[in-house]
């Protein structure tokens, strides 16, 4: 939790001495006062909502901010704090949280804590109490939400879905009839009730804070009936009992209530499942088959993208690296155009160009051919690489041009004097020097393409689908787009945050290892220290 937007423009002391009341100090004081005020407001909000995790994180950030900006000793901290606060919350914490989620079964059916799951189960399994009293009822509203007002033993009680029934004093109405005036509430007219009929019949007003006590519901907006849960939660024994059948459900290791015959109640809660998600990714045949194919394609895609763009960029750089050539600058400017277009636009544009039935490539360039550029497994892969070549070669062209121009002239001359031919000079001097200076950028490019979600998603959406897989994955999916599909955030599949996070961690490990090895090779560490 960051301490609200003001951290964007962090206070900076113009003086390191708090006793010195210069204008800078005043600016700092005002900014810190604003941040503290927002922070305290935030703390109260967290306390009210019961979000203790956010509460402690916010408190810690706030205390740290005050210490850093009012202490004379934390000089470097004054400059690092704002960025560090964001880094801790939105990068380090989320990576850590990803790791934690990957060891749970968080997802559809296991969305919440056990307490919330029990409450949901009790609410979802309510039925009318046989032979129970009928209460005269009026549909009311508190301005925002619909509610019911009922008459019980001459008392008038009112509540909404969020607010349990409470007694209202001073309500009036004919004896044994629904109340017509309820202080603090507006009674809806017959027409208004008709207009919101569906909302009214779906409304459930709890009798008390305890879900076990049941609720009031109505079918006709005139009479209310008491509904109680058909399930009963036994707190001591930690079991759910079905009041009708007497079946006892016990919590199992997967975070669901399960009866002895194996039937389970639908709402579960999230529990740690150890390495299950990783085992699923590598072992469960629904996922492991697609996963390994996607992993292989991801590596192939990243490597081939770097190689093809580098080769084309290098070839063009060499071509235009001749001072005698006229119009070099014009060529260069035109050639970097694809790089100056936002990647998502280019990918979408190519999706249209390569469209099978109407696309420019098939219709005009190939004279009406119907080549399935994006729907055939192999052609789709080729298209993805081709589009990425178009997008990526200008970057390689730029860095190769830079590298060629900075090659040491004396070494070239020495090679010439030693009698090396063009080819020999190129192979033994130019290329090695070029690779040394561009290697870190090639590694970054590899890492970038390894996670080039935008291109894949916009161009093919991972398609065409694997025919033999039950999960919505396809031939051009790379790992990151697989994570997106599995997570269910696009709404096409059931949500499985646990498995998606596990796959994210696998990507972290692969990319991290490759980058670390490669960067160590290039001695980047020694250079920056």
């Amino acid at each position: 939790m960051p301490t609200a937007p003001p951290t964007l423009d962090p206070p900076r002391a113009r003086t390191s001495h708090a006793r010195d009341f210069g204008p800078g100090f005043l600016v700092k004081l005002v900014l810190m006062a604003v941040i503290d005020a927002l922070g305290v407001f935030g703390l109260l909000a967290c306390w009210r909502e019961g979000s203790m995790g956010i509460f402690w994180a916010l408190l810690l950030l706030l205390v740290a901010a005050n210490y850093v900006y009012f202490s004379k000793r934390a000089l470097a901290g004054k400059y690092i704090y704002p960025g560090l606060a964001f880094l801790l919350v939105f990068q380090i914490y989320v990576v850590g949280y990803t790791a934690w989620v990957s060891f749970t079964n968080y997802g559809d059916g296991h969305n919440s804590t056990k307490e919330q799951a029990i409450e949901a189960l009790l609410q979802q399994n309510e039925r009318r109490v046989e032979g129970s009293a009928a209460y005269p009822l009026a549909v009311v509203t508190d301005g925002d939400d619909l509610g019911f007002a009922i008459v019980d033993d001459g008392r008038v009680l009112a509540g909404t879905a969020e607010r349990p029934l409470e007694e209202v004093d001073g309500a009036t109405g004919a004896d044994g009839q629904a109340p017509t005036v309820v202080p603090g509430w507006t009674v809806l007219s017959y027409q208004e009730v008709i207009a919101r009929q569906q909302e009214v019949t779906a409304l459930r007003v709890p009798v008390s804070d305890d879900a076990e006590d049941g609720s009031i519901r109505t079918q006709d907006a005139r009479t209310g009936y008491a509904f109680t849960p058909s399930l009963h939660y036994e707190e001591q024994a930690d079991t759910m009992t079905d009041a009708l059948t007497g079946v006892v459900y016990r919590p199992n290791a997967e975070g669901q209530f399960e009866a002895e015959d194996g039937t389970r109640l639908p709402v579960g809660w999230r529990v740690p499942v150890g390495f299950d998600n990783y085992v699923t990714a590598f072992g469960d045949e629904r996922y492991s088959g697609p996963f390994l194919r996607i992993l292989a394609w991801t590596v192939a895609f990243a490597v081939l993208s770097v190689v093809t763009t580098f080769l084309l960029g290098l070839f063009l750089a060499i071509t235009f690296n001749d001072v005698r050539l006229r119009g070099r600058k014009a060529y260069r400017t035109l050639l970097i155009l694809p790089y100056a277009i936002p990647g998502f636009l280019a990918a979408l544009l190519w999706a249209g160009l390569l469209n099978r039935s109407y696309g420019f490539v098939n219709q005009v360039l190939l004279g009406g051919a119907a080549i399935p550029w994006l729907t055939d497994p192999w052609l789709a892969k080729l298209s993805v690489l081709g589009v990425n070549l178009w997008l990526g070669f200008p970057y390689m062209f730029l860095i190769c041009t830079g590298a060629l121009q900075s090659l040491p002239g004396d070494v070239m001359e020495a090679a010439k004097i030693d009698g090396a031919g063009r080819w020999r000079t190129w192979r033994s001097i130019t290329l090695p020097l070029l690779l040394v200076s561009t290697a870190p950028l090639l590694i970054s490019s590899f890492a970038f393409n390894f996670n080039n979600f935008t291109l894949i998603y916009m161009l093919t959406k991972g398609g065409p689908r694997f025919e033999d897989a039950s999960v919505p994955l396809g031939h051009t999916d790379i790992l990151i787009s697989m994570v997106y599909s599995v997570s269910g955030l696009d709404g096409t599949a059931a949500k499985d945050y646990g498995l998606a996070s596990a796959l994210s961690i696998v990507i972290f490990v692969i990319v991290g290892t490759i980058s670390a090895l490669a960067f160590r090779q290039t001695r980047k560490l020694e250079e920056v220290m």
Binding site: Q91, T98, L345
Partner: protein, 297 residues
């Protein structure tokens, strides 16, 4: 990067026999023309499609068969301009925040010697390898939790998305800036210090002015990458009114590609222009920034 064409180019060429010219330079022009055609044809096509009366994918295939502003006018009936405003708000705020926070951190690492400095630098280098977008599931869940307490920072909030982007600011850019800050001689600071300047005065009035080229580069790179960022924006921004261009234009194309093509083409031309203009005018700086630290020259 782009060294000026040597002045002796012209006389050399006139002295060169035709056959030699073809062998030495002519083929380069052939390659150049082919490459430029390859690079530019999709762009020519999209401009033509945006001007086509028809507005469909099929109807856009004959280049410049018709020229009209219909598609551009039709954008007014969509949420396109809302998306433009959203995107600019998010990208500018992220770029400014990134520059401010990155520069401050780079200054601290470059000028102060404090406990944890080496560890901090090494950690940043490691963190750099873990792209934030990979953790989008956790980002979604985090904003879901935050949103219950502060709706203004939760899901579907532009401010929340900006905060997420700023979380990646330090990891990506501090090194680029750190290297540049180190090239500013320390003696300048020390002289100012002797004259009685405080560290904040040195930072705001002296150092920041001297490093302004790298500030421009980082700001631009951040703007451009935020402008085109898709996955986090897609996960965080859920209602059409808060979408960015990347999410919105994707929506048009993924849903009825053929019918929306003219709209998309017009939208694409408009949204590509600011980035294209920035890029072409500031080419030198951007290229310098991209290759800083690895290509020496």
């Amino acid at each position: 990067m782009s060294a000026p064409v040597a002045p002796e180019a012209a006389p050399l060429r006139t002295r060169m026999p035709a056959r030699e010219w073809v062998r030495e330079l002519g083929w380069r022009h052939v390659v150049g023309v082919v490459a430029v055609a390859y690079a530019a044809f999709p762009l020519v096509y999209v401009v033509s499609a945006s001007l086509s009366v028809n507005g469909t994918l099929t109807g856009s295939n004959s280049l410049f068969a018709s020229v009209s502003g219909d598609n551009y006018a039709a954008l007014a009936d969509t949420r396109f301009w809302t998306w433009v405003v959203n995107t600019l708000q998010i990208a500018v705020a992220t770029a400014v925040g990134t520059v401010l926070m990155g520069a401050a951190a780079a200054y601290a690492f470059s000028r102060f010697r404090f406990t944890g400095r080496r560890v901090g630098l090494t950690s940043l280098l490691v963190i750099q390898m873990f792209p934030q977008m990979l953790a989008f599931v956790a980002v979604f869940l985090l904003l879901l939790a935050i949103g219950e307490v502060f709706p203004a920072l939760g899901l579907n909030s532009k401010l929340g998305l900006i905060c997420v982007y700023l979380g990646g600011a330090l990891g990506v850019n501090t090194f680029l800036m750190y290297g540049f800050f180190n090239t500013v001689p320390k003696e300048i600071d020390e002289a100012a210090k002797i004259d009685g300047a405080t560290h904040a005065q040195i930072y705001w009035t002296i150092v920041l002015r001297l490093v302004s080229p790298i500030l421009a580069v980082v700001g631009l790179l951040s703007f451009i990458s935020t402008f085109g960022e898709f996955i986090l924006a897609r996960v965080v921004l859920q209602s059409q009114g808060s979408w960015t261009l990347a999410v919105g234009l994707y929506g048009w194309v993924s849903n009825q590609l053929d019918a929306n093509w003219g709209l998309f083409a017009a939208g694409a031309v408009i949204s590509a222009l600011p980035v294209l203009a920035l890029f072409l005018f500031l080419q030198k700086y951007i290229v310098g920034g991209l290759t800083a630290g690895s290509v020496k020259g």
